[in-house]
């Protein structure tokens, strides 16, 4: 079954603010490396196995960010007193989601379902779980950054991991 065409270059560059993450030179061969965000139109993937590897990576990163965002929002719903200290991390997750969303075809996004997040009844435990979730996100983003074929995309993912790390002290406060 034909899938959606990959994101167009114009859309990808718009999503990334003209960062121009298109091709890089790698150590392995000095060849240009495809980027999911360069938007070469194709006949469309028929399933996950047919996806550009970096589109799969972007989908994984997007799922991880959405899971973390969901965890923070769910925690604040149960513990409204935590809202003030989580404002920054919520804004950051939304900015990261926005940066990734255009690179992932809609049918791929629909196919991935985030695991349910359980908020602890006690505030201190809820905060610890949230910290663990954010740390897990840092690990995931860094792992995906190592895996990314496009250098520019790797840089974006690593940047997102570093940003998440910066917000940890706010959550722990």
């Amino acid at each position: 079954m034909p899938g959606e065409p990959l994101l167009t270059r114009r859309g990808a560059l718009r999503a990334l603010g003209g960062l121009g993450i298109v091709v890089t030179t790698t150590l392995t061969g000095g060849c240009d490396v495809r980027s999911p965000l360069s938007g070469t139109p194709s006949s469309g993937p028929t399933g996950p196995a047919d996806l550009d590897p970096d589109v799969r990576t972007a989908a994984a990163a997007l799922a991880a960010v959405e899971h973390a965002l969901g965890a923070v929002l769910a925690t604040v719903r149960v513990h409204p007193s935590l809202q003030a200290r989580t404002t920054g991390v919520v804004a950051m997750h939304r900015a990261h989601r926005q940066a990734l969303a255009d690179a992932v075809p809609k049918d791929v996004r629909r196919a991935s379902v985030a695991p349910a997040y359980t908020v602890a009844g006690r505030g201190a435990v809820a905060v610890r779980r949230l910290q663990a979730t954010e740390l897990g996100l840092v690990d995931t983003l860094n792992t995906l950054a190592v895996r990314a074929e496009s250098g520019g995309f790797a840089r974006l993912l690593a940047s997102m991991g570093a940003a998440t790390l910066q917000r940890l002290p706010e959550v722990a406060r």
């Binding site: 890089t24 150590l27 974006l156 706010e170």
Partner: protein, 143 residues
């Protein structure tokens, strides 16, 4: 940018960082500003270790590591505690961008190392009263 170019660029940055931290540390008082003194001292040591690692990597790739300059321009006069903190913040922000560039121009173990260095800059800049940002290490954040 070539991979070796990215390595040389970040090594040049580390030379400058070490110089600046050396001056900042000399200006801080261990007795009157113990926290600041410790943070500057630790930062100096971290950057020196990274410089040594980068030098070894470039040599292993049969490159000629870029040499340190005799002196570097400081971000500010570095004569008050606030200026010392501001200068250190500038160093970490600039190094984060250089490490982001290295992430972009490396693979596998080298990229992994660059990512950990970027993380360290992102953490360290908070010691010097920076606010968290959404995309540390990017030259231009996505809009």
């Amino acid at each position: 940018m070539t991979p070796e170019g990215a390595l040389q660029a970040v090594l040049a940055g580390e030379h400058a960082a070490i110089y600046v931290y050396g001056v900042l540390g000399a200006q801080a008082s261990q007795s009157r500003q113990p926290r600041l003194y410790d943070d500057l001292t630790q930062s100096y040591l971290v950057h020196r270790k990274r410089r040594d690692h980068l030098t070894a990597v470039i040599v292993a790739l049969h490159g000629d590591p870029v040499a340190s300059e005799p002196a570097y321009q400081l971000p500010n006069p570095a004569s008050t505690a606030a200026q010392l903190v501001s200068a250190a913040r500038t160093v970490e922000q600039r190094m984060a961008t250089l490490y982001g560039q290295l992430v972009e121009n490396s693979v596998e173990e080298q990229r992994r190392w660059a990512i950990s260095a970027l993380d360290e800059c992102a953490r360290r800049v908070l010691l010097f009263h920076a606010s968290p940002t959404d995309f540390p290490g990017l030259s231009t954040p996505p809009s």
